[in-house]
Chain length 246, copies 2
DNA sequence: CAGTGGTCTAGACCACCCC
DNA sequence: GGGTGGTCTAGACCACTGA
């Protein structure tokens, strides 16, 4: 590590942040894959020629961003959507009473199209880029809870089809990660109330015109690159969207 | 600081967390009030007979929880709702396009009542405890955006009335803090979609039956004590609820 | 037992703010 | 210049895990 880089300057960046950037790059490039243990703190300190405390601070920030998971006595691991604990990290819908025993994702449709203005703006694609659109129904304990309409750039998810979805009984983000090597690390949601149309009303078993939550999500992978756009229609008679503010 | 307390034991708690607990207590007891600078890190280190690094770690956690705000070169301060930067910390509604120039809170009603089952359960009060209920309309740039229905235990907000509200042109949490010494530090929100009733429809200038967000909030002060229950009816034609997931 | 992350210390120096 | 928080180091020891 070049100490000169820490010289005061208009673009001062502390050492631990430079280390962090290098480590994030190792994640992006796949040097350390999801679920893997990364080298120990002392190994990393030696590799970057800094003290253990500096490496530690870099890892602290990455753990706070859910990029890494520390496990005392075992090591530090690249976080993964295969971990059951992260299953509900991006799904804030929960039952008004009790807990969810079982959630089932039922693919409904999957087709190819060309990106229109809206999708290309959100995902940073050129208008006309091939995209894959899929619709699926998510049920909790046998009751339909939400319908998702998902827009993906086809080049990143080449063979995605209804067949693939039906033969993979896992969360979508697990599928993205395991089959396509695309890891979602962050998302933004914009929520509105709308009236159910015919299609969603039937899927969710509510009358047309019933109030639904419309949850629009943009999900990002490493480098703040948006790779998924999603419109979720949430039935909130038995469930609600939970959020904690601090 | 009694080092023996750090001896390995079934209830091991690191030194910096014990320091943090002591400091949180100082906040609860009002030794350090909102907006005040707390003692410098070296002073605190001396007071608790620990190293500066240990105090630092305690402050780090408190800053992460928005209890304190660090300002390099100046000191560490008790966070306050008087700080304009924290104005939208608990209000996640934002315009679909552009920014909010001006927000106006217009009190509509304010009356006393006795806590029913729902309020007492949420706020941890006995049924029948005196509560104060108020309704207000929040407008952004002249357009009505949301109606709040707010339930408070009367003993903590003794003279709260329509008159007080009309003569205090500040955010409610500023009023709570400045006039009643109640600081909100955390909140939970549960969001559903509902149809507008007559009253809220008129206030928000939308037809009866239009879809609205119902945002139920429980807000907590120090010690995780719930002190406010709120039902917000958000019009989401021009605005949306924004949330970031990570 | 050895190896990992977690805590704590003491001291040096830097960046920022204000007098 | 003197105070504050911010960074970085080197070293000691503790807590947890698994072979």
């Amino acid at each position: 590590m070049n100490r000169a880089a820490t010289t005061p300057s208009p673009t001062f960046s502390p050492l631990y942040r430079q280390i962090k950037d290098l480590m994030v790059r190792s994640l992006e490039l796949g040097e350390w894959g999801p679920g893997d243990a990364i080298p120990s703190e002392s190994e990393l300190a030696a590799r970057f020629s800094v003290s253990q405390g500096t490496v530690r601070k870099a890892i602290d920030e990455m753990a706070a961003e859910n990029l890494l998971v520390r496990r005392q006595g075992k090591g530090t691991f690249v976080s993964t959507h295969n971990d059951p604990r992260s299953l509900f990290r991006f799904l804030r819908l929960q039952p008004n009473e009790g807990e969810i025993d079982q959630s089932i994702s039922e693919p409904v449709e999957c087709w190819r199209a060309k990106a229109g203005q809206d999708v290309s703006r959100v995902l940073g694609l050129a208008v006309g880029t091939p995209i894959t659109i899929l619709r699926r129904l998510l049920s909790f304990d046998g009751e339909p809870a939400l319908v998702d309409e998902i827009y993906l750039p086809s080049d990143l998810f080449p063979d995605l089809s209804l067949d693939v979805l039906q033969h993979n009984d896992m969360s979508l983000y697990r599928l993205y990660e395991n089959r396509y090597g695309v890891r979602m690390i962050r998302a933004e949601e914009r929520i509105r109330a709308i009236a159910a149309d015919k299609v969603n009303g039937e899927l969710l078993k509510v009358p047309e015109g019933s109030p639904l939550l419309l949850v629009e999500r943009v999900a990002f992978t490493y480098g703040n690159k948006p790779v998924e756009w999603r419109r979720g229609f949430y039935a909130t008679n038995r469930y609600h969207y939970f959020n904690e503010l601090s």
